[in-house]
Symmetry: C2
């Protein structure tokens, strides 16, 4: 009998998540009811935002319930269907969670074509990270030709697309990433104009060198000190897109607020938060545009793929 390995969320972490956060269980594959489909999942997404979902308290999404399957975006294949919208053999993307088989009514799931892009890309550059990047930098960042754009987490799933979209739109793009390898990748492979290595370089000094006239848009994935430094380099009417704050997600103390926020006043600048779900009605539009650029070789996407559901906890903490 084929069984379903599931990673259950069993304990809210304080600080970093660890082995005690999850429990790996093996259960029978669920029977599906009328209206449901059974998806055999090929890949699940790992995202820093997941750390936020583990916390109790109001946020942009319900906190995960203790004992539930670890929430995650996923891509897989329909292996049984009692729902007329899906047929066996369809490849589908949805929030299937960290488990091998997912029974669902199909809400939030949609078909994708593995002949157009590899399956992992549908939960990467053509999935939530790509949509976050595209709508964040164009709609919230409001980039225009000639803008100087700074992107933190530049080697990440979101940041890498943000920078490439900004390059396509005619901006000067400077990334921030951790380590020489990531910085080389960002400049040599992704085509950013420069990338600052925050682990080995003085970010304030390097930012001054790379953006002597300041920045028009800062796309913030990290928060903390780097947000504060970016605030010191704003140009008039600059826009800061608050997409995440990975430096703060494992905090046990209060989040560090941006001390230099009065630079918003001096430069008549805007700091705006975004959540990708708001753009759900436009995902098809975003995927079409990004997919076109990928097909034309203008956007590169790289997925790091790790095998084995049992390796989720360790792999997750590598994100931070």
């Amino acid at each position: 009998m084929i069984m379903n390995k599931q990673l259950l969320f069993v304990k809210r972490p304080v600080g970093e998540a660890d082995a005690s956060t999850w429990s790996l269980e093996t259960n029978p594959i669920p029977e599906i009811d009328d209206g449901q489909i059974l998806v055999k999942q090929h890949y699940v997404s790992l995202d820093p935002a997941m750390r936020g979902w583990m916390n109790q308290g109001k946020s942009y999404i319900e906190p995960m319930a203790i004992g539930s399957v670890m929430r995650a975006g996923s891509v897989g294949e329909v292996v049984a269907s009692k729902n007329s919208k899906f047929k066996v053999g369809d490849h589908v993307v949805g929030t299937g969670g960290v488990q091998q088989y997912c029974a669902t009514d199909g809400k939030g799931f949609y078909q994708v074509d593995p002949r157009i892009a590899p399956l992992p890309t549908y939960i990467g550059a053509l999935g939530m990270p790509g949509m976050t990047a595209y709508f964040g930098i164009t709609e919230v960042g409001k980039i225009k030709e000639g803008d100087v754009v700074l992107v933190s987490g530049a080697a990440g799933a979101v940041g890498s697309i943000v920078g490439q979209v900004a390059k396509i739109k005619g901006c000067r793009v400077v990334g921030i990433a951790g380590g020489a390898d990531k910085c080389s990748y960002v400049v040599d492979e992704l085509g950013f104009d420069a990338c600052i290595d925050y682990k080995n370089e003085n970010v304030a000094t390097r930012l001054k060198e790379e953006c002597p006239k300041g920045i028009d848009v800062y796309f913030d994935n990290v928060g903390g000190e780097i947000l504060d430094i970016a605030l010191t380099r704003l140009r008039m009417h600059a826009r800061i897109v608050i997409c995440g704050a990975i430096s703060q997600y494992n905090n046990k103390q209060a989040v560090k607020g941006p001390s230099n926020y009065l630079s918003l006043l001096v430069h008549r600048a805007t700091m705006q938060g975004m959540v990708v779900f708001d753009y759900a009605p436009r995902y098809a539009e975003g995927a079409k545009i990004l997919g076109g650029w990928m097909a034309a070789g203008k956007i590169k996407a790289r997925e790091d793929v790790y095998e084995g559901i049992e390796n989720f906890p360790e792999t997750f903490n590598r994100l931070f």
Copy 2:
């Protein structure tokens, strides 16, 4: 011989300004050159923002030079003119500084009519504070009917107008001010729906009571803890107008950044800085609208008038 008392800015303060910050000097009234006017000043404005002008370093306006006349908005009467745009007897508003007589080429000065409003009103509700309030809450705050609006510094020159404009526009308006007297004034005289006394009440608790469903717009004149509390009560797509941070102007340490800024992400909210000078081309429009509301009794303005240039330092610190 009539002399000109002038208050010179002689020392950059660390923390609070004090007697050593200024020096009162008596000098001859300047002769005017071709193109200049001599203004006998009746009133000068006192504004918390002045504390920022005293600091070295980049801001939205040049820092004041040591030895210069203390910068201040003023209203007075032209007593000599070699400039065809102004004639003796004109009442004018400009940045005349803290001195009894000001010789100027008239740049930034404009005529006002003392029969329409008392002179002090032209550097209050119909001057910079009024323009800041009007354009800040309408253009940056983007208020619309039914919005819940929170205003700090609610009894002040800017905050008092912000709240009254928001009431006219059909919003629910809650003020924050220091002390029971100010709070009564804000509710009973100015017509706010409520006012929280931050000196004697728990702001977080009271805010929850007064705005159970949260706030759509926060007009921030104070920064610090109150900004952080406001961030915990945002509604979706809320707007925070960063107009000032009076709680931080006398800081010797770094400014306290808003720890709860990630609420911007959760609520897809915007925090935007504003400087009134950007609206200079529209001052006439703003003054006409505010003046109309004042004439109709819909907006009340109260000026605290203090006599004597020698009392400037003490009066200035009463603002904080």
